[in-house]
Symmetry: C2
Subunit: 199 residues, 2 copies
């Protein structure tokens, strides 16, 4: 007897099957029928759990972002200053690239379609803006503890997120073009050299 309720299990199977279909054939090319076939569920079961294919994608996005949040939190454990927190987050970049691999192209595909649909657009853009707020808070703490120069935390956070977005995009589209984990570490170090108070 399984400990997972039947409905939950079906829901998980749909999500896993969708993630595989999207990664392999793209978001556009993967229909609900194909996802159902791959998951071994009926269309009725699919629509019992999700109103649309779009809803499945947004749920997958939420799951990945939760993993990323947990990784970002774990990476910072034991760091005593803000520059140390940044260095540790940069060190885990390799894992983020591995996690994003095979997923970003479908994410971009979804983004291109969603940009003219205000409701979906808000759902996609909200977590991204949360990361900006997350880094602004860290930078604010660094200014307060005196390790960072008195920069505008919002603006410095936009720069950090811009660098991160660019790194992820290149890491996926041009994986052999550079050691992206290394470039991330170097990039964060150069930014820190620009942001830190001079000793």
């Amino acid at each position: 007897m399984s400990l997972v309720p039947r409905g939950e299990e079906t829901r998980s199977r749909i999500l896993e099957a969708a993630a595989e279909c999207f990664a392999r054939h793209g978001y556009d090319a993967s229909g609900v029928a194909e996802i159902c076939q791959h998951a071994g569920v009926t269309k009725g079961a699919f629509y019992h759990h999700f109103p649309t294919k779009q809803a499945v994608f947004l749920e997958l996005l939420n799951q990945w972002l939760k993993v990323l949040d947990a990784q970002l939190a774990t990476a910072q454990v034991g760091a005593t200053t803000v520059p140390e927190r940044f260095v540790r987050m940069a060190d885990m970049a390799q894992h983020v690239f591995q996690m994003a691999d095979g997923r970003l192209p479908m994410f971009l595909e979804f983004l291109i379609e969603a940009r003219h649909d205000p409701a979906v657009w808000q759902a996609v853009i909200a977590p991204y803006r949360q990361y900006r707020a997350f880094f602004a808070d860290i930078i604010r703490a660094g200014v307060a503890e005196g390790t960072l120069q008195p920069v505008d935390p919002e603006i410095a956070a936009q720069v950090v997120v811009s660098l991160a977005v660019g790194l992820v995009l290149q890491g996926v589209f041009d994986p052999t073009g550079a050691d992206w984990g290394q470039v991330t570490q170097n990039g964060i170090q150069i930014l820190l050299d620009g942001l830190e108070t001079q000793e």
Copy 2:
């Protein structure tokens, strides 16, 4: 009597029409038939000038990159040090965002499709790698003239390009999320603070 040879004019009309169709409906959704109708040319004329829709896209990409190259060259005129050259290039970021607007989504769409086609992929990735070499040369000159610390020019250039890629992506997908021209100026300034030799 026109000074432009007839064939050249037809070719230009096809390129203009394709740029409009791609920007409005996306790369995928714009067929050769639609481009021909929009340009007022026959399919025979189209295929006389371009073997495929893909070839039209690559020619448009080349044209835009030529404009960008010219803008980057113009921006640097009169700058006497490498940090000045960077500041001036950052100042022109607003124009680059305007130029990219409406074009990047179709570029991403093309990129997503092209990434499994080695020949097209090389054509797309080559100019991007040239920009990395372009910035590496400038940073090398900065190290040589003593305005920049003795960093590895290739790595520092990867960081600069990563920041640029991230800024352009956000500028197009989240145009109202920040003043991206301003973020570019701030980002380059923070990088320069990290790269410049201390006075």
